[in-house]
Symmetry: C2
C-alpha cells in the first residue's frame, strides 16, 4: 500500500476553505489506523491536534501573507539586523510566545516550553538579507506573486515561525521537547554564520540544543539539506601608491591588478562533481575618476561539497591573485611604490553532514512522503553547517511555496495557498514528529 | 643685461624677516629704472605698492599657513563643497572683501572693484577635492611639511586668494580692472568643471570675464598651463541577471565582464606624444559576497593633448568594453539573462589653448622671469579648459611652494617660507600686471 498522500486529488482553488478538512479525510483514507504507530511521522498524523493545527494554518494564511510582507519591508542588511530583530520579537510575542529575547549576538530567541522528557529542539530562520542599506524592500504584489529583495530568503521562513507558534497554540499542542524559535543574524554574506556560532559555541544554549532545523529559503518542502557545503570567503585588496590620473599616468594601478585578477579567476576550472563554485560578489575601491586608486578590492566566495576540492580551488585562487599583482608590477612603473596584494579570509563555513540514517533525517523524510512528495537530499551552505560540523543532527528545510531569483533585486515568491500551506504543514509535521506531541 | 632676479643671492632662513626688503633692493639693482616702462611685468616692479604688498605677504605668512590648514580640514567632496564654501566666504570677508556671495552653482565669488578702465579679470582656486565624504582631512605637520588629502590641490591656492586680498589692501593697491576672486566648485572628478561652465556659460558673469587665472595646484610658480587637455570620462556599467553564488553558479557575472574589461583596457596602447592617458579610478557594484552581482561598474578617465588621439583612445576603449561583455556572454550561461554594457559619458572637458603670443602669456612669462625662473609651458585639464575652449584668454598657474602625491591620502606640501612666498608673489605680480596698478 502506498503511503503517499499525493494519491488524493490536488486541492482546487475553489476548495481552499475546505482543504484542511479534505486533507485530513485523505489521510484517514490512505493510512489504516494500525499504521499510525509505525513511526514518528505517522504518529503525528494520528493526532487530532495536528489536524486542528493544519486547519488553523489554512484559516490564518492571509495573516501569514501580511506578516511576511511586513517582515520583508523592514530592511536587514548583514550586521544591521537590529530593526528587523526588534520587529520580529514583537511579532513573536503577538503570536503567543511570551519568553522572547534578543541574545548578545542579536539573535531573536523565543522558548516554547514542552512537558519535559524530550530533547531541546531549535528551529531557525535568518533575519539578515544579502542586500545593503538603502535597498528598496517595498513588496510588489501581483495576485499571489510577491516580489521584493529577501522576501523568500528568508522572510517567508520567519513568517512560518510565527505561524507555527500560533497554530500550535490554537490546537493546544503540547510537545515533550522545549522548542526554541529563532530569528538569527549572520547567515548571509559577511555574517559568516555568526548567529549560529554564538548559539552553538558561546551563548547560554551551547551544548543544550540536541536537534536543529533551519528554514531556508522558500521551496515546496520536499528537499532536505543534510550536507553542509564548506565555503571560504575572502577580501582581496590590491594596494598601490595612487596618484593623479594624468600627471602620474604610467604608475602601477591597483584597479588594473584587480581587473586582471578577476579575469584570471573567471577562467579558473572547477569540477562540477563534487560541486565546486566560486564567485566575485562585490568590488570596490578608488576615490575619484581622475585619481589612480590607492586601493581596489573584491569579495570572493569559494565553495565545494568536498574539502579537498575546496582547498585546491582556494590554492589556485590565491596563486592567481599574486600573479595579477606581479603582472601589474612588471607592466607599469613602481617608482612611487609597488602593488601589494592582501588575501584575507573573511568567512569560513565548516563542512558538515547529518547522516542519511540519522533518525532526524528518517523522520523528516517520512513526513514529506506523507504529504505526497519524494524527499530529495542535498548539500548547501546554511546555518545548519555549524551544528552539522559539531556532530549535532541538523537539517535545512524549505519554508514552503515557490519562487525564484533569490539574492537578486527581482526576488519573488508565490503565496498560492495550496503550495504555501503544504510547505508550512510539512515543516510543522517534521517539527512535531521530532518534538513529540503529548 | 640679464633681467633675472635669480642673480640675487637666495634668501637664507635667518634672513626671512628681511627678505621682502632684500628682494626689493635686488630688483632695483638688477633693473635700471628705464627698463620699468618696457612691459607690464616690469612696470609692476616699479610700483612701491607692489613692494609693500610683498612685504605684507612675508609678514603675514604664518596666518596664511593657519588658514591653509583651516581650509584643508573642512572636507569638500565633489558635489558636497557647501561646508567649505561657507567657511571660505567667511574667510574672504575677514580678509577684507565685502562683496562676497555664493552663486547658484555653489561658487564663492568676491568682487574687488577697480577704478574702471580695465578688463574684468577672474582668479580662481577650486573648493572641491577628489576625496569622498569621511576621508580623514586632519593636517599632519612636521616642521614646514604639511600632509593631508587636498592640502595642495587646491587648499593652498584658496589660501593664496585670501592672502592676495589682504596684501593688496595692506598696500592700498588700486587696480584698473575689477577682479573676481573665486573659490569654485566642480573642478575634480565627476564635477566636470560645473563651476566654470556656470560661470562662463550661464551665470551673471557670462560674457563679462575677459581674462581668467586658475591657481591649481601647488608648485614653485614657473609653470604656465596654456593648453587645456581634453578629457572624456565614462561610467561603464555591466548588468546581468544576478543570482545565488552557489545555486546559480555558471550564470554570466557582471564582475567577470568588468574584470575582463579592465584587463583589456590595462593593455591599451596610447602615444606618449601627444600625451594621451587613461585611468580606471573607481570600481563598484555587487551586494554581497555570496551573490552574483546584478551590476558592476567603473569610472574611467581618458585624456589627450590631441583631439584626434583622444577620439581614437575613446573608440578603442568603447570597443574593448563591448568585447568584454560579449566574451562573458559566450563564456557562461545566459539562461537567466545576458550581460549588457552601458558606456555613459559623465564628463567632457573641452580642448582649449591660449596662444603663446597672447599678451596674457607674455605678461605672465615676464613676471616669472623677473623672479629668476624660466617659464615653462604645459597642458593640463583644469578649470581653464572652459574659458580656453571659448577663446577667452586663460592660464593655470601654480600656487607656490612645493609638494607631492596629490590625489592620494599621502598628499603633502612644504610651506618653507622662501619658496612659499615667492610663489604667492609671482601670482600677485601676474595678477597686478594684468589688472593694471594705478
Amino acid at each position: 500500500m502506498s503511503t503517499k498522500i499525493g494519491e488524493c486529488p490536488p486541492f482546487e482553488g475553489g476548495q481552499r476553505e475546505a482543504q484542511g478538512v479534505l486533507f485530513f479525510i485523505c489521510v484517514l483514507l490512505v493510512f489504516p489506523l494500525a499504521a499510525f504507530a509505525q513511526n514518528p511521522a505517522q504518529r503525528i498524523f494520528n493526532q487530532p491536534k495536528f489536524q486542528a493545527a493544519t486547519e488553523f494554518i489554512s484559516k490564518d494564511h492571509d495573516r501569514f501573507v501580511r506578516e511576511l510582507i511586513q517582515i520583508t519591508e523592514v530592511e536587514a542588511p548583514p550586521f544591521k539586523e537590529e530593526k528587523r530583530a526588534k520587529a520580529f520579537v514583537e511579532m513573536l510575542r503577538q503570536s503567543g510566545l511570551s519568553d522572547v529575547s534578543i541574545d548578545a549576538e542579536g539573535n531573536v530567541i523565543g522558548v516554547r516550553k514542552g512537558t519535559g522528557g524530550g530533547p531541546l529542539i531549535a528551529i531557525a530562520a535568518h533575519l539578515d538579507t544579502v542586500f545593503p542599506e538603502g535597498t528598496n524592500v517595498k513588496v510588489r504584489q501581483q495576485g499571489t506573486r510577491l516580489s521584493a529583495p529577501g522576501i523568500g530568503d528568508d522572510s517567508r521562513a520567519l513568517a512560518v515561525l510565527l505561524m507555527l507558534v500560533r497554530a500550535m497554540d490554537a490546537a493546544k499542542i503540547q510537545t515533550a521537547s522545549d522548542i526554541l524559535f529563532i530569528g538569527n543574524v549572520g547567515e548571509e554574506g559577511p555574517g559568516d554564520l555568526r548567529g549560529m556560532k554564538y548559539l552553538f559555541q558561546r551563548g547560554p544554549y551551547k551544548d543544550k540544543i540536541k536537534m536543529f532545523i533551519s528554514l531556508d529559503p522558500f521551496g515546496p518542502g520536499g528537499d532536505i539539506t543534510i550536507g553542509g557545503v564548506g565555503s571560504k570567503r575572502f577580501k582581496v585588496t590590491f594596494k598601490g601608491p595612487g596618484g593623479h590620473s594624468y600627471g602620474s599616468f604610467g604608475l602601477v594601478n591597483p584597479a588594473y591588478a584587480l581587473g586582471n585578477a578577476i579575469a584570471r579567476l573567471s577562467r579558473m576550472q572547477v569540477p562540477s562533481k563534487p560541486r565546486t563554485t566560486f564567485n566575485v560578489g562585490v568590488v570596490g575601491g578608488g576615490t575619484s575618476v581622475n585619481s589612480i586608486p590607492f586601493e581596489s578590492w573584491m569579495d570572493v566566495d569559494v565553495r565545494s561539497e568536498s574539502k579537498e576540492e575546496l582547498n585546491k580551488a582556494v590554492d589556485t585562487f590565491t596563486r592567481l591573485m599574486h600573479e595579477a599583482a606581479d603582472e601589474e608590477n612588471r607592466t607599469r612603473t613602481t617608482s612611487q611604490g609597488r602593488i601589494d596584494v592582501d588575501v584575507k579570509l573573511i568567512g569560513d563555513r565548516p563542512f558538515g553532514q547529518t547522516p542519511m540514517n540519522a533518525s532526524m533525517v528518517q523522520t523528516a523524510a517520512g513526513v514529506i512522503q506523507m504529504f505526497g512528495m519524494n524527499p530529495t537530499y542535498g548539500s548547501a551552505s546554511t546555518d545548519s553547517n555549524i551544528p552539522m560540523s559539531m556532530g549535532i543532527p541538523a537539517l535545512t528545510l524549505e519554508s514552503g511555496g515557490f519562487g525564484g531569483r533569490n539574492h537578486t533585486l527581482d526576488e519573488w515568491i508565490d503565496v498560492d495557498k495550496m503550495s504555501s500551506i503544504r510547505g508550512i504543514n510539512i515543516v510543522m509535521g517534521i517539527l512535531l514528529a521530532l518534538a513529540g506531541v503529548q
